[in-house]
Symmetry: C2
Subunit: 216 residues, 2 copies
């Protein structure tokens, strides 16, 4: 589209220049210039457009999958709450995601990413409708890169804590808590897996956008 | 470069066609065809080339900074070793990075990223020398995206454990170990900060590559 616009503008500019010249002098010019007509991007558009439209549709589908993954991770982690059936005189044993800061960060980060993905859907649709639009594509790749970092940070920090909850650490004298809170550990592990799936989907989104941005 | 080549080939073809025509007939053609000359990429190349060369040089500098950051993080974490001055009858109190799996992962991941960055330097130089080459640029953006995930995962998991070492967690009955191992905690925190700096530099690298890939 951009190339088409610039062609029209330049026609009027060069028309003024060449109008004053004699036809005889113009003859060699024709030779040099008609050659370039075959070189315009108008010839390349149909093939590149179909290719880019395919990428945009795949981008849209991946985005829907990523929404499912991050939403499942958020809900799975956010609703985790286990109360043990026994209690002492002083307190009841209860485990919830907000006991551990890493899990709180996980829920917040995944909620933000889910919100971003929902808001990015219209831009993805714009990229399907107008495969050659560079603006939305560039916006998507920049935001996706930032969001892949946020998702990875949330997933990795939660994974580190989940590992500790499962195995404990004898050097630091931290005990495993998963022997008591089995259900809690299971749903938390599931949430971490869901978040890592979202990270992989995001990686594909960024790579696809890079391919869609490249020239032919 | 591609556009420049095809222009030269087409010149010779059309020269043959138009040579036989009378100069007078060529006059209206001049108007329609010289217009396209302004649209060739030969006109856009100097501006776009300089812009892309600037991006490539900035990419190279950022890459050197990222090497420094990840190398500092790796060395800082890898050489951390603290032995407390007191000991009981049975064992000596000692803290090293390989006591905690998250820190081991941190060292390995940062070493891999440092190695990748050193190997990517030649490709970055190729992008400076040939600003319009799409291949190395695309390779760099894909590998950078994978590496930003690895760096973020390492930094975030180590940060989660460092937070736990500093503050402990009363719900899970995990005690803070930084009250004893102060030097250990300090150098580990420094390494995590270095790794997060590398993450930010990587984000800039990916965004720069996206801008370099886009069309005009």
């Amino acid at each position: 589209m951009m190339n088409g616009d610039s062609t029209t503008i330049n026609i009027t500019e060069t028309r003024k220049e060449t109008k004053g010249e004699a036809p005889l002098f113009a003859a060699p010019r024709v030779v040099a210039s008609t050659s370039v007509v075959a070189n315009t991007s108008a010839v390349e558009h149909p093939k590149g457009g179909r290719y880019k439209k395919g990428i945009a549709i795949f981008d849209f589908i991946l985005r829907l999958c990523a929404i499912a993954a991050t939403l499942a991770a958020t809900v799975s982690m956010g609703t985790t709450d286990q109360t043990l059936p026994f209690f002492t005189q002083f307190f009841q044993f209860q485990a919830s995601y907000d006991d551990l800061p890493a899990f709180q960060f996980f829920v917040i980060a995944n909620a933000i990413v889910t919100g971003y993905l929902v808001l990015s859907i219209p831009f993805s649709i714009v990229c399907i409708v107008r495969p050659h639009a560079v603006g939305p594509r560039l916006l998507l790749i920049i935001c996706d890169t930032v969001m892949v970092t946020l998702t990875t940070a949330a997933a990795a920090s939660a994974a580190a804590i989940v590992y500790l909850a499962h195995n404990g650490n004898s050097s630091a004298n931290w005990n495993s808590i998963c022997q008591q809170f089995t259900d809690f550990c299971q749903s938390v592990s599931g949430a971490v897996v869901g978040s890592f799936v979202a990270v992989v989907l995001f990686l594909f989104l960024v790579v696809l956008s890079a391919f869609a941005l490249r020239k032919y």
